[in-house]
Symmetry: C2
Subunit: 380 residues, 2 copies
């Protein structure tokens, strides 16, 4: 038998953070694609649109006081926002003319602070638990026609500071604060204005519980935080590195499931976003910009993804030993071959196991080789 070559011979790889496996069948990328083609994102988003509820000065519908109206008709809005008298316009809220980031409550929150707890379970197969929390939306910038990779370093730095502030503020009481960005319509994003969401919950969500368990076990066994060790290994091995600087590195993880999935890791042992030093926030802005420009350059399109931050749990856990945790961000982008051909995680993936069509090393190599100047900003 010839020796195994990962790019030719299918094999499974272990994801130690989720304690599960991915099937890597790189020879499969050759198959022709006759399935669904994605719509590339619209290119002509207006910079300011008073009908867009995320824009400065625009009027939002407050979902909670609009019962029974599933799709409110777009209201004609004055270009200059009316003064918001809550007694006169109880259904409307007006955004300030914000100039940097802007945080406001999600008008249709999946988590609310005061939901009553469900009754006791009468059977082990029917178990419910209380869920309380808060959902916020954060606009990255006043302009609708920008995305993070097109923003300046100072503007990205402002986003990082706003993240850290919210993580600390909501983390004072809530055990988990999930910061995440859905970018692109393909990722369920329903508004082109650059923004992310922050959902804080009274419980540790599944992914948090999973990473809590695997990281705790790893540290118990190996006396070092899993992702600190992992970053050191990848910095040395290099084949999965995409970009790095003095404080951070981005890799296509050895166990990546999405074609161009990446993991953003600090080199220092850092528990939470709010613990980042001033210089680390600057270098984070820089490495995010470099990664996101490469992403956009890959298929010359505003690259869709869902991303989010994971760090040590908060609230009551602030008092606990969380040294097994290491701060990190996951990027999960769906595109596989072009701006219009995505990877579908469907039948086999949902029922059995994730499967990928190129090796993580091949993905890293492609990302690494891309220019760090955005294709829209190149001088001609």
């Amino acid at each position: 038998r010839p020796p195994a070559r990962p790019a030719e011979h299918q094999h499974c790889r272990h994801n130690p953070l989720r304690d599960e496996w991915v099937l890597v069948s790189a020879h499969r990328v050759r198959r022709p694609w006759r399935g669904q083609l994605e719509q590339p994102p619209t290119e002509d988003v207006p910079r300011w649109d008073p009908a867009n509820p995320l824009c400065p000065g625009a009027t939002r519908a407050n979902g909670e006081v609009l019962p029974g109206t599933p799709t409110p008709a777009p209201r004609p809005l004055p270009c200059v926002p009316p003064r918001c008298d809550p007694n006169f316009f109880p259904l409307l809220q007006v955004n300030p003319h914000y100039e940097g980031t802007f945080v406001f409550p999600n008008d249709f929150p999946a988590l609310q602070p005061d939901s009553p707890a469900p009754g006791d379970s009468d059977h082990p197969l029917f178990q419910a638990a209380a869920a309380r929390g808060v959902c916020k939306v954060m606009c990255f910038h006043p302009w609708s026609d920008l995305t993070l990779p097109l923003m300046s370093l100072a503007e990205i730095r402002a986003v990082i500071d706003a993240w850290a502030e919210l993580a600390a503020e909501l983390g004072a009481s809530y055990p988990w604060v999930q910061i995440f960005e859905n970018k692109g319509e393909m990722m369920g994003c329903s508004n082109p204005h650059p923004h992310c969401q922050v959902w804080a919950s009274s419980f540790l969500p599944n992914e948090a519980r999973l990473e809590e368990r695997t990281q705790r076990q790893y540290r118990e066994r190996h006396s070092v935080p899993m992702l600190l060790e992992y970053a050191e290994q990848e910095a040395r091995r290099k084949e999965r590195l995409v970009v790095e600087n003095e404080d951070w590195l981005v890799v296509v993880p050895y166990w990546a499931t999405w074609p161009f999935q990446t993991l953003l890791l600090p080199r220092r042992h850092v528990l939470r976003l709010q613990d980042l030093r001033d210089s680390e926030r600057d270098s984070l802005a820089s490495i995010m910009q470099r990664l996101l420009i490469k992403y956009d350059n890959l298929f010359q399109v505003s690259f869709p993804y869902s991303m989010g931050w994971h760090g040590a749990p908060t609230g009551p856990h602030l008092q606990e030993d969380c040294r097994h945790w290491q701060l990190h961000a996951h990027y999960y982008p769906p595109l596989l071959r072009s701006a219009t051909v995505r990877k579908f995680m469907v039948g086999y993936e949902m029922l059995a196991q994730a499967q990928r069509d190129l090796t993580p090393e091949q993905a890293a190599e492609r990302l690494r080789s891309l220019p760090e100047v955005h294709y829209k900003q190149r001088r001609r």
Copy 2:
């Protein structure tokens, strides 16, 4: 505080099969949707198309002998297939003029029988394992313009027999045989011809390992198979029942994550598809037809989903005590509000925890209330 009402007050529910939670925030269904709209499926699929590699008499490209040609140009094909002389046409394979179900090897298999094992791991964070297997495609019917809900009971019964046969044949040596159907372009299906896939592997995939563990633990603790007990409970409680007959029931499980997700369960303790009795196969054809007609009727569209069968593991596990297992099928359909508005499992769901916008009881009630005659077959 008022008592909790599940349709109004968000809460978490436990999925005992996957040992994880889902956030149920039913009040969220009120929010307006301004995001991506899906393309409804094409209605004018030709019944027979010689250029469609799944049709009877059509010529397939055998992917394995077409290296380096990512998207072979469609070849002009004679309407009567050429005699297949493998010496003369090494790249082509011709389907027989099949009249019922038709099984053939996947031309671009993610699993092949003889891949070499990866070398030994040099670090606990970099672990690979051998993956061997077989991928097959099964056409349900010679016509391309049919789907399961539009097929006769005898035709669906033939599909069930072919499933059971493949499960037994591949299960003789492989530990896991995953039968799954991706229906609709939205679910990554790349060919409109009614078909499913069967991937047999030398390893237990993640989902199988998870259900193995949870079902084993449940039986150890409660002395009864989890899903046998669950079916009995749901048959009695009724609020999540969609359809039932003497041998089977379909429920929107208490822990459903997809909006109209269902679980198809036998009433008898059955380990594997191949163990189904003659009469149980007939009643399975009937309940599948009833469920799938309701699915199509929900939004008057050929309802997309990924579905698949889970049963006790096979190969070497045939010799083991698998009484904790119960055969079942999962249906995972993405549509939420209409033929064009789906639920996106993205940011929060990928990074934290699945979230749903209506209660399982509401979903079951809607499905239950739909007619059992297909909207395309109603007499006018």
